[in-house]
Symmetry: C2
């Protein structure tokens, strides 16, 4: 195990150098997140399909990591429990339009994680950075439990647990616990825990921050300790159930799936669940008594329990939905935690948007009308008032606007439009609009992923490390 320990030391050193101006030492966090004795027992699964150019290439020494999908190359890197979906990588010759230019790709785009240490990170790339379209770089970045890196390169950063970096090119930043940033570009900054921040240059700027006391109850991180709180307890309680589906090489489908829908072999589906047409259930999604209407999707690490989603619903990475009824086109953003109970049901009307990192944890039944945007921390009707606005009202906003702790500035109309445009893109990419032969998306193209199961060395100096592996079509 000596080499594995050396590797971790080297990575900590590199990340600390990137973050030197903050004085942060990521060592205690990394060492706590990586239990060496456990790592040795893990195995990894690597998905590939004929639709996606395959190149997994782990160099030097690597440990765990599961579900690379599409091109990837990793160097001296700890990649642990990470989904790294490269299924939206651009291909050679493809033309990327940017501000009037037509940039042609000289090579297939690859995800290139260098000297880096990701811990439990999902990277679902769809890069919007025109500066290097061929490489999606993630270097010297540490991402703690259930942090999401999504759609843009990230360098020299520390991502707290349950934080999300969305469509944002990040350099040398610290993103606090449960913080969400979608701001295009961010450099040498610290984002405080629980801050939800959506900004598009001078066009609009939306922000909200969870009260520390509330956040601590759900998720909190202290140096030298593991992250703890309701989020962690919730996930941990379901870990063992997942283990069962990872223990078997070929799993028989537990539910009937229409031919134009896709349920990952590594999703867990139980109880009275239903899969309609064009539905996508991703790896590590958890469904229990979940009714999924046509075109709905359940992305990686999301939990949908005792709930009904009418159709074209997006349940983004890491979102949780319990005892809820969601109308058509309801969007639930990253890492949102919506918890009704049998007595306190949650209903959300058609087309409403639950902002990423929203916590709705009910102590009474709650009904969110159609066409609303909701954010923040909500336990009941009273809370809702300060944490929602109708799309109509928001569209009329120009300049400054506040509601409760939410601050907005800029064009409400453009904010609403951008959000709706994005949801539409997500549905399209995931295959919700598939009809006959047209509009294929992930639900149609990811039905037949094959998986390789890779074990680390079980003995000796290399114990816990994986042999370097190169996979080519």
């Amino acid at each position: 195990m000596k080499q594995l320990e050396n590797l971790i030391d080297r990575i900590i050193e590199r990340v600390n150098i990137n973050l030197r101006e903050t004085g942060m030492d990521v060592g205690p966090y990394i060492r706590n997140a990586l239990q060496l004795n456990h790592l040795v027992k893990f195995y990894s699964i690597y998905g590939f399909s004929p639709q996606h150019p395959v190149l997994f290439s782990f160099r030097r020494s690597n440990l765990a990591g599961s579900y690379f999908f599409g091109k990837c190359t990793v160097d001296l890197s700890v990649v642990y429990k990470s989904d790294i979906r490269g299924d939206e990588l651009k291909k050679r010759g493809e033309v990327y339009p940017f501000q009037g230019s037509q940039i042609s790709l000289r090579d297939d785009e690859v995800i290139r994680i260098r000297d880096a240490c990701l811990i439990k990170t999902l990277v679902h790339n769809h890069s919007h950075d025109p500066e290097d379209l061929e490489t999606f770089l993630i270097q010297n970045t540490v991402a703690l439990h259930y942090a999401n890196i999504h759609g843009a390169p990230v360098e020299g950063c520390f991502l707290g647990p349950f934080s999300t970096v969305d469509l944002t090119t990040l350099t040398d930043c610290i993103i606090g616990t449960f913080a969400y940033v979608q701001v295009g570009e961010l450099s040498h900054q610290q984002v405080e825990p629980g801050k939800i921040w959506v900004k598009s240059k001078d066009v609009f700027d939306f922000s909200y921050c969870f009260p520390k006391k509330v956040l601590d109850n759900y998720i909190t991180l202290e140096p030298d300790k593991k992250p703890r709180g309701i989020f962690i307890d919730f996930v941990d309680a379901r870990k063992a159930d997942f283990q069962e589906i990872f223990d078997v090489v070929n799993l028989k489908a537990s539910i009937s799936v229409p031919s134009n829908a896709s349920v990952s072999r590594y999703a867990l589906v139980r109880g009275e669940s239903h899969i309609s047409e064009n539905v996508l259930i991703a790896q590590r999604a958890y469904l229990e008594n979940a009714w999924m209407g046509k075109g709905a999707n359940a992305q990686e690490n999301c939990y949908i329990i005792d709930s009904r989603l009418e159709g074209n619903n997006v349940t983004a990475h890491g979102a949780t939905i319990i005892h809820a009824k969601l109308g058509k086109n309801v969007f639930v953003g990253f890492n949102s935690f919506l918890r009704g109970t049998p007595d306190h049901k949650l209903t959300i009307g058609k087309g409403s948007i639950i902002a990423p990192h929203t916590i709705i944890d009910l102590d009474e039944p709650l009904d969110i009308p159609a066409g609303y945007l909701v954010w923040g921390y909500i336990r009941n009707k009273k809370d809702l008032k300060k944490h929602n606005i109708s799309a109509q009202e928001l569209s009329r906003v120009k300049g400054k606007f506040t509601r409760g702790a939410m601050k907005f500035q800029g064009s409400g109309a453009k904010f609403v439009k951008a959000f709706q445009h994005r949801i539409d893109h997500i549905l399209e990419a995931n295959g919700a609009y598939f009809a006959g032969k047209n509009n294929k998306g992930h639900a149609q193209t990811e039905q037949d992923i094959a998986f390789n199961i890779i074990h680390p060395y079980s003995k000796g100096r290399l114990k816990g490390l994986y042999p370097s592996i190169d996979i080519r079509p």
Copy 2:
């Protein structure tokens, strides 16, 4: 599946060119051995350990294949259900003594299978060919069900079902069904079905041939048909049991194993079985009510059922032992089939040698005394008489000698000595003599093989093919 079909065509063409002077067309045999629909469902397991330099490198297009172990590179090749054990590969700088010369290896030895098509072949290399110590080449060779290639390179050959090429460098040969050759070198020859042939230049020459009628009952091959007979039925009846242990990613040990012994995670052990010290149970070995004494081994594809082996026993690749009691140091050669019944038990005395490819299928109890060599086809005491000789008597033979259908020429003493020397080497290599820290062998070094499970593409043109894969330490 188009590319898989193309690949098979190309390989057939290449093998036929090698065998052109015989007029043989291997096409019908290969196409029958490879059921494309099944191939698509298979997955492969690849073993590696810190003791053995890892380099699996499949180029272009490959299909199944399980349990590569140690360095290997494969090119445009169908490798299907093959164990290819490279755990005795020589290392760079190692010195190989040959007829007074001390040949130093310029590089690690690799197994290099080129353009080739192996079908269900075990290759356990320990090359004795001084001409190219760095490459163990197997090119354009087709090996049907349970054929063994063992310890030497083989080029442009066709190996019938249950045939064995042992320590013999082979070029452009056809080895008939259930034939066994251990003759050092063989070029442009056809060996008839059922021929057992052990030859060392002018020193000795042992041969026996099974009557066609007897052989057909056990194993027979016709063009355009699958091999059939008792051997095939026996193996097929146990296939489903093996499937269960391949279906699980991490299998719990089913039996207690001493710390200096090794039971492969892909062996099947059931009933009242017992593993003593220094025992080696290899991948795909089948044990049922098997008592394995100290230093005994059960090699790949062997079956030991309702039997007791006292210790230091070799059960070579593909051998079957049922309702038998074997004294210490009894050796059972490749693909031998020893079948007693509850009423017709077989006992074999200390140090006796059952020649490779011996069939003992009892219709009465049989007792083989200590210190004998046995070969051929035996159903009872009467048969035994024509198919055995004591080591003592054989050692006195000089020149020509026959017994039954067995023909011998040369030095009996040297033949006996060579055989005993080899058995001793096998026991040593397998770790039977391990004591404290000395004499480590496979039983001690192969306890901690880790396995990668690789799936083929499940869809599209590449269906049934594996992505090319490179694994490095």
